[in-house]
């Protein structure tokens, strides 16, 4: 079996700060995803990537950048953290190109902006 790791586990930032979240998977999956989860809501797709160096926008891409440096890693950047923002960012991967496939999730990065 494989594993998805996300770093850091907890991220505390200041308003206006640029923050980067990292995700690594060793499933050898083609597709990787970044989701945001707010309390009481379902996950919302920020960015996804169907292969190395590919990048596709999700519904929530504004305010974020992403980078698929290599097949196993997918990073997400919050370009300017919003004051009092709190959310969990979840990374996922799946074997299928471009489709939902069977997604496997990382443990999440919990963001708090002071």
């Amino acid at each position: 079996g494989g594993i998805i790791t996300q770093t850091p586990k907890f991220l505390i930032g200041q308003e206006g700060q640029k923050l980067t979240l990292k995700c690594q998977q060793n499933f050898n999956h083609d597709t990787m995803y970044w989701y945001r989860q707010d309390s009481g809501k379902g996950l919302r797709l920020i960015y996804y990537s169907i292969t190395e160096n590919d990048l596709q926008k999700g519904d929530l891409s504004e305010g974020y950048d992403a980078s698929r440096e290599k097949k196993s890693s997918f990073s997400l950047t919050v370009t300017s953290a919003q004051k009092n923002e709190m959310a969990v960012f979840l990374c996922a991967s799946s074997i299928r190109l471009g489709g939902l496939g069977e997604q496997y999730f990382g443990p999440g990065t919990r963001l708090t902006v002071l």
Binding site: Y35, G98, L100, G101, P107
Partner: protein, 110 residues
């Protein structure tokens, strides 16, 4: 836009009983996946369906793309089944789009 309505938002069950969670879709979906969020906050895969039904132990899921719904049945509920359950669906329209339900908080009590 594409939406998923998940119900109920919260559910209380006594051990040994059962119930069903449901996701209704506003458009045709290509596939659905059900997850459970564990105590550490990780999302655990339960089922992935492109059609029909799947069963695993005390859980059973069905997906009807034409009728635009999916269900997750839990029978003989156990205390460890408590948690938040999410459905996620892949839109069948052009391009790629995944939408998640808002979750069902299940509490199983003795």
């Amino acid at each position: 836009g594409d939406q998923v309505e998940q119900s109920p938002s919260a559910l209380s069950l006594h051990e040994g009983t059962g119930s069903a969670l449901r996701c209704n879709f506003t458009t045709t979906m290509r596939a659905v996946q059900w997850f459970r969020k564990n105590s550490r906050g990780s999302l655990i895969n339960l089922f992935y369906l492109a059609s029909g039904t799947k069963e695993n132990g005390r859980l059973k899921s069905a997906f009807d793309s034409k009728e635009r719904y999916s269900t997750l049945h839990i029978r003989d509920a156990q205390l460890e089944d408590s948690g938040t359950y999410f459905c996620a669906a892949e839109a069948g329209t052009g391009g790629y789009k995944v939408v998640f339900g808002s979750g069902t908080r299940l509490l199983v009590s003795p």
